[in-house]
């Protein structure tokens, strides 16, 4: 189950029953506690979940420090409790699929597949294992040129 297709994959194992983990992903009362990454919060009143194909999934992530807001909007493609959830982000066309795999009664693996499908990817040359290759490439570049990140005062900014 390794990098075929244009997907980024993120996996994590949780010590919790599959149904509970699945519920967390579609229940605003749970989502408000974890949806925003570190340094952000996701107010309950701005979370919309209509968990059925064609239904809306939207949130507003608020930066804790300066209050700036990151609204997200997506449409569910597939909802198969408690094993699979997928949606497509409206602004980016990104397809996010979440699989919930029961490893035991109280142990669940969550697999996120994130697929970005811009026009360019429709070209045959751009297809196989693309994002996976890029992910590795990013790691590789970090090794060959650690100086790369942000220490280039002579680079004009590209505004």
């Amino acid at each position: 189950m390794s990098g075929h297709g244009n997907e980024l994959r993120f996996t994590r194992v949780f010590d919790a029953p599959r149904q509970l983990v699945f519920d967390c992903m579609i229940d605003p009362d749970h989502l408000t506690h974890f949806w925003g990454p570190a340094g952000t919060s996701t107010p309950r009143e701005h979370i919309t979940v209509d968990a059925r194909p064609g239904g809306v999934f939207s949130t507003v992530m608020v930066n804790d420090r300066d209050g700036s807001r990151y609204p997200t909007h997506a449409i569910y493609d597939e909802v198969r409790p408690p094993e699979l959830l997928s949606w497509t982000e409206s602004h980016s066309g990104m397809r996010v699929t979440t699989q919930f795999v029961a490893l035991g009664p109280d142990r669940t693996e969550v697999r996120i597949h994130q697929r970005y499908v811009p026009e360019a990817f429709l070209a045959p040359e751009a297809q196989a294992g693309f994002l996976t290759s890029l992910d590795r490439f990013a790691a590789h570049l970090g090794e060959v040129a650690p100086r790369r990140s942000g220490s280039e005062p002579d680079q004009p900014s590209s505004e």
Binding site: F10, Q114, A120, L141
Partner: protein, 120 residues
């Protein structure tokens, strides 16, 4: 969260979809190089390499000096960083989200155990 437009992201991703072009970018990450220098490790003609360089140049990932005789190629570090940031940003978001979900699951389950009176 990034200033990179989707159009440019598309172009940069398309450019990096090719392994030869990724190798060229890798090489340029260590310093500027001429077409001849870039062609050396590949079993490819100069025109072949030039074609790849044009794609990279159009995507904004590399630039070429007009003034110098051998027109060395230069990696546009910021453009590359923004492209690769797209990936690392998403990785980070899910990492942090999963950390919080883990905490939430623990809290919910410990609440349930309390209610059932089976605290371990």
């Amino acid at each position: 969260m990034s200033t990179l437009t989707e159009e440019r992201l598309d172009a940069a991703f398309a450019a990096l979809a090719d392994p030869t072009r990724r190798a060229i970018v890798s090489r340029l990450a260590t310093g500027d190089a001429t077409v001849n220098e870039l062609a050396a490790p590949f079993a490819m003609s100069l025109p072949g390499i030039s074609k790849h360089l044009k794609v990279l140049e159009r995507s904004g990932l590399i630039s070429r000096r007009r003034d110098a005789q051998f027109r060395p190629c230069h990696l546009e570090v910021e453009a590359l960083d923004q492209t690769l940031d797209w990936i690392t940003t998403h990785r980070r978001i899910w990492d942090e989200r999963f950390d919080k979900l883990d905490a939430r699951l623990r809290a919910v389950q410990s609440g349930r155990r309390h209610r059932k009176g089976v605290v371990g």
